[in-house]
Amino acid sequence: MFLHIERGSSTPISRQIAEQIAALCAAGSLKAGERLPSVRQLAQELTVNQNTILRVYERLSADGLLEMRHGDGTFVSGNATRRRMEKQRRQFIDELGLVVRRGTMLGLPVDELRQLFDEALEAAASVAPPQAATSVAGD
């Protein structure tokens, strides 16, 4: 498992680690049932506080992406991919809301925003067939 931590980033360390593990699961580099490094190992490898790693594992387990088996280790959960999609969907909705807010802050009228959105949809449709959402590695 290869992770890269950017120190001094405005993205908190825990979020960096969580997002990268989730991305590795989504991309299929981490497969369902695969064992992750122990909290201690990963902390040592990344030079990050053990409690931070523990919290990341706990959070990803609560999200259903990982499974912490007591005394046995932490594993990629069986339905990780599906869970990941739900999370990406929520994240997308948040980001879209942010973009729309920025548009209104720029003073763009609602009609123009709708038109821009339609144009973006058309542009996306002409570039790639609308299957991108299912292209992440399945099981």
């Binding site: 001094g8 825990s14 990050v48």
Partner: protein, 308 residues
């Protein structure tokens, strides 16, 4: 809640007419990695020297592992692993000679552990101490601090004089050897981007008092910069109690505590808010050099406890 390993209550210290600590309050829980942050001259080294009973305090109370360092300095020094800033050691001794010399001073000195650290830290056993590099010196000091297996370790700016590679190895040592074994660690540092991944909690020291103490991760969730219009800011500024305010044309960027609640309240009132995540450097700067705005609000926000 377990009894704190270190507790300072309203501690005062002056050197001549210069008041260095003005009512310092601090509590460190067992097993924590705790970082004391502050600019040069904020009082970090003075606080640490008081903890070790190296200088007397003028007022307030201090407890270290249940001892008052001023009444029982020897008990504190026997129980605490300590690395002073710029620690001086006997230059004419070799590394192994110094380790052998130090052992009898500590009842719990672990020769095997000292030897293991020496190998791990890559210190040549027969090198004279005066010929060690700065980084090797710090590592030797660290062995002296750790080899008696103390339950509390206090390090004064250990990263000072280490190059980036050594700092990374040193940080790894802290996680592996100290956190891995449940040791409590208090250390001071000015390298915030290095503190953030390591420390459970941080305290920010300014002008001899703590302006903020919080879990590192909660601090980042709690303190954020919000960008809003000048009108919205004017309407809400009274309750926002900003740490720092920057105006740019029609927009105002305010750094606030309790950011999630503030964002909700602003949005509920119809304000458009853009949220900027801050790193520990930015947060530190907001507390120590933040300007809470022009004449209209001269008083900085009082330090608040973070609620999770």
């Amino acid at each position: 809640m377990p009894e704190p390993v270190i507790r300072l209550h309203n501690v005062q210290k002056s050197f001549g007419r210069t008041q260095v600590l003005r009512g310092l309050n601090l509590a460190v829980e067992p097993g924590q990695i705790f970082a004391l942050l502050g600019r040069n001259g904020a009082g970090k080294t003075t606080a640490i020297r008081l903890l070790m009973g190296l200088i007397p305090r003028d007022g307030g109370a201090i407890s270290v592992l249940g001892h008052d360092p001023q009444q029982e300095p020897l008990a504190v020094r026997a129980a605490v692993g300590f690395l002073a800033e710029d620690q001086q050691m006997f230059g004419w001794m070799t590394v192994n000679e110094l380790l052998a010399f130090m052992a009898p001073f500590y009842p719990h000195w672990d020769r095997d552990l000292a030897a293991r650290y020496r190998k791990q830290f890559d210190l040549p056993p027969d090198q004279r101490i005066k010929h060690l590099s700065k980084g090797q010196n710090v590592r030797l000091g660290l062995i002296l601090a750790l080899a008696h297996r103390p339950e509390l370790v206090i390090l004064d700016d250990p990263a000072l004089g280490l190059d980036p590679i050594m700092r990374k190895e040193f940080n790894r040592d802290l996680i592996t050897h100290l956190q891995g074994e449940g040791t409590t660690l208090l250390y001071s540092s000015h390298l915030l981007y290095e503190v953030e991944p390591i420390a459970d909690s941080v305290a920010i020291l300014k002008d001899g008092a703590i302006v903020k103490q919080a879990a590192t991760e909660l601090l980042r969730q709690d303190v954020k910069q919000l960008v809003l219009s000048a009108e919205d800011f004017a309407e809400h500024r009274d309750w926002l109690a900003p740490l720092d305010v920057r105006r740019q044309r029609a927009e105002v960027a305010v750094t606030v505590e309790n950011a999630p609640a503030a964002i909700d309240r602003l949005r509920a009132a119809g304000a458009i808010v853009r949220v900027i995540e801050l790193n520990l450097d930015d947060i530190f700067a907001a507390y120590v050099i933040g300007k809470p705005d022009d004449a209209s609000d001269p008083s900085p926000a009082p330090p608040l406890a973070i609620s999770a």
